[in-house]
């Protein structure tokens, strides 16, 4: 289990990390840790699985990709057939069955936003079912901040 210093590191590093020649020295100073001790602690937290990653987190859409959440109301007797048709598209990344009238939810990722519309239209034609698009109109996500 992480000790008090580890917990302070996890909490602080969720708020950001300096861009500087010796960033671990700067970040460590705020915690009362020297540079090498902080580097070692972060390495141990990753090796121990308490941290899943340390570094820059990229926003894929801002890098030029396009993504869209979509959903369908699939009749129970056609569910497996429709899942196969939807999953056959390489642009379909995630697909989940969910307990709702809209019971199939998937994410389409492509290089251009026009390609998203093309994929959704193809799925609609292939299945004969309506495909509801749920594009992000606004993002409020700031990030999960876990106080440990």
């Amino acid at each position: 289990m992480p000790d008090a210093i580890d917990r302070a590191i996890i909490n602080m590093l969720q708020d950001g990390f300096p861009i500087a020649e010796r960033p671990f020295r700067e970040a460590g100073a705020a915690l009362g840790l020297d540079e090498s001790a902080l580097i070692e602690r972060i390495g141990d937290l990753i090796a121990g699985g308490q941290l899943s990653r340390f570094g820059p987190m990229y926003n894929a859409e801002r890098m030029g990709g396009a993504f869209c959440l979509a959903a369908m109301a699939v009749p129970a007797e056609r569910f497996e057939e429709v899942a196969s048709l939807v999953n056959a598209h390489p642009e379909v990344a995630h697909n989940y069955q969910r307990a709702h009238a809209l019971n199939m939810w998937f994410v389409v990722g492509a290089e251009r936003s026009e390609d998203i519309d093309t994929v959704l239209t193809k799925i609609k034609t292939e299945t004969g079912l309506e495909v509801y698009a749920f594009p992000k109109l606004e993002e409020f996500f700031i990030g999960l901040r876990v106080s440990v």
Binding site: A20, E21, P23, R53, G64, H94, R98, F106, F140, L144
Partner: protein
Amino acid sequence: MTHRLDSIDRAIVKETAPGLPLVAEPYTALAEKVGTDSADIMRRMERMLAEGIIRRIGAVPNHYALGLSHNAMTVWDVADEEIARLGAEIGALEFVTHCYHRPRHLPLWPYNLFAMVHGRSQGEIDTKIDAIAGRLGAACHGHDVLVSTRILKKTGLRLAG
């Protein structure tokens, strides 16, 4: 909004995919791999941060290892004139991720705010959902919890080349 990345930006993205090097001068280590100097790396990363290409630099806690074993995708029907203010408020809650304003599809789908709630138990999730409902107050006309019953496909999202 699409920002073009040049070949050095792309090399930075690729080299930092596993994370930032755990050495005293990580940006210098990165510069050596990419074939530039640390000042150029830092300038580029500052720019990508400012443009939102990099959300932030830091640590991603492993939710499961830290005890956050439960989550629920919650969806809310929030008055349109209040969605910007209330969405920002809900997105800022420390137990919420993936908080987005999305379109309604009436009559099938009245919900316009999506928020993933994380917690240490189902009881904690329920308490947090109640807390969101309390914050939204009269501006919220209904909500649902979208329970995932099966993963049908899970592959990585493809990035533009």
